[in-house]
Symmetry: C2
Subunit: 228 residues, 2 copies
């Protein structure tokens, strides 16, 4: 996240930034920024701050972003197609090295500039482009099989969009992005807000005093809290 912000700042011509400035932009505590950055080494200058370009370079190096990581997408349905068509991946160093599907009807169609290939070609694709990262964009029922195939093909990191817990051997990293879970979390907050409103109405109706729970001044502090 720091990387994103720093790149943005660099693009706007900012050359130096303090931990406090970066914290403000990231919505976190300044001490946290300093501690986080200290794990990279001592790249700040006391009394001055951090040089944006240099920090970008160091973070990129630490994250292994000094070269591209081609990815292979399994599943050419709605989501797979959108991911393949979404230019943002390539821009950020993750070009789509291939997209595969198990359905012959989808094979050889073209999405986002890539031809869909059959899932049986996975080992060939992974081998040819030396791919380490796979994306599972299949329906839930096909996700474990997709993961197994990716692992067998030699992939060691998986980004999973299917709403299932994947089981993989040790040494393989899985990250899960579950859109429904994100919405459920928002639903929970909405639920609480509406319960809160009911309680306030009751309290107001009964004429009692109450601690303020409504919007406080729109300070940076408050805005940070809002996304917690």
């Amino acid at each position: 996240m720091y990387l994103q912000i720093l790149v943005e700042q660099a693009d706007s011509g900012v050359e130096s930034i303090s931990s406090e400035g970066l914290a403000e932009l990231a919505g976190v505590n300044a001490a946290k920024v300093r501690k986080d950055l200290s794990y990279l080494g001592s790249y700040g200058t006391r009394g001055v701050g951090y040089e944006v370009d240099y920090l970008v370079y160091q973070i990129r190096r630490e994250l292994g972003l000094d070269h591209d990581w081609p990815v292979v997408i399994v599943g050419a349905g709605n989501l797979g197609q959108a991911l393949a068509g979404y230019g943002g991946f390539g821009e950020r160093g993750f070009p789509v090295g291939g997209i595969v599907d198990i359905d012959d009807a989808k094979v050889d169609t073209v999405v986002g500039g890539a031809r869909v290939r059959h899932i049986d070609e996975l080992p060939a694709i992974v081998g040819a482009k030396n791919i380490s990262i796979g994306v599972v964009a299949t329906p839930p029922g096909a996700a474990q099989d997709a993961a197994d195939r990716l692992v067998r093909a030699g992939v060691s990191s998986i980004l999973n969009f299917a709403p299932v817990v994947l089981s993989v051997p040790a040494g393989v990293t899985v990250r899960k992005v579950d859109l429904a879970v994100e919405l459920q979390i928002l639903s929970y907050h909405e639920q609480r807000r509406s319960e809160q409103r009911r309680t306030n109405q009751l309290r107001a109706a009964s004429g009692g005093n109450m601690a303020p729970v409504g919007p406080s001044p729109r300070s940076a502090e408050a805005r940070r809290d809002a996304s917690a």
Copy 2:
């Protein structure tokens, strides 16, 4: 996550589950499951376990999933279209109540069964369907404006797919899904793995003894760790 697993279990005819069983499926510790569920109330039976259906009901109630939450999508580009076309949302209680874009060329096109409307109609759409949740699927530069418009229209929860930190008033919840960040995290793990391999080679070449760092037996334990 428990909810997902429990619904799946219910569909396969499982009627009762222990904290240990649920922990296994979720890839977490059994004590954590019990503590988590204890916040809902005491819905288990000692010596027996939890009744799946009842637990599903209680979790749904707590999360506010006892009714649908229509969502409005801002941005009808690649991602917005995929989200609108992705049936999974509606199935899980989040039907697409509308999709808007600022670009007249996209307005009135139809994606995933919904007609794209102009972003100026946002207040009308939100008001008519009583929408609380908005999805930002715009390019980075347009995201803050999209968020501001959503908030002005009365939305109080936002799911943000744009790679920017949104600034919203207190009382509005934002969750961010950043695909590039997910891939960057995987890149970091890959980076470490390749560094590890180099170190091992050096150690092996120098003939020294070393603690095992490679794959261990594929136990449930190890597979859990893999996704950490």
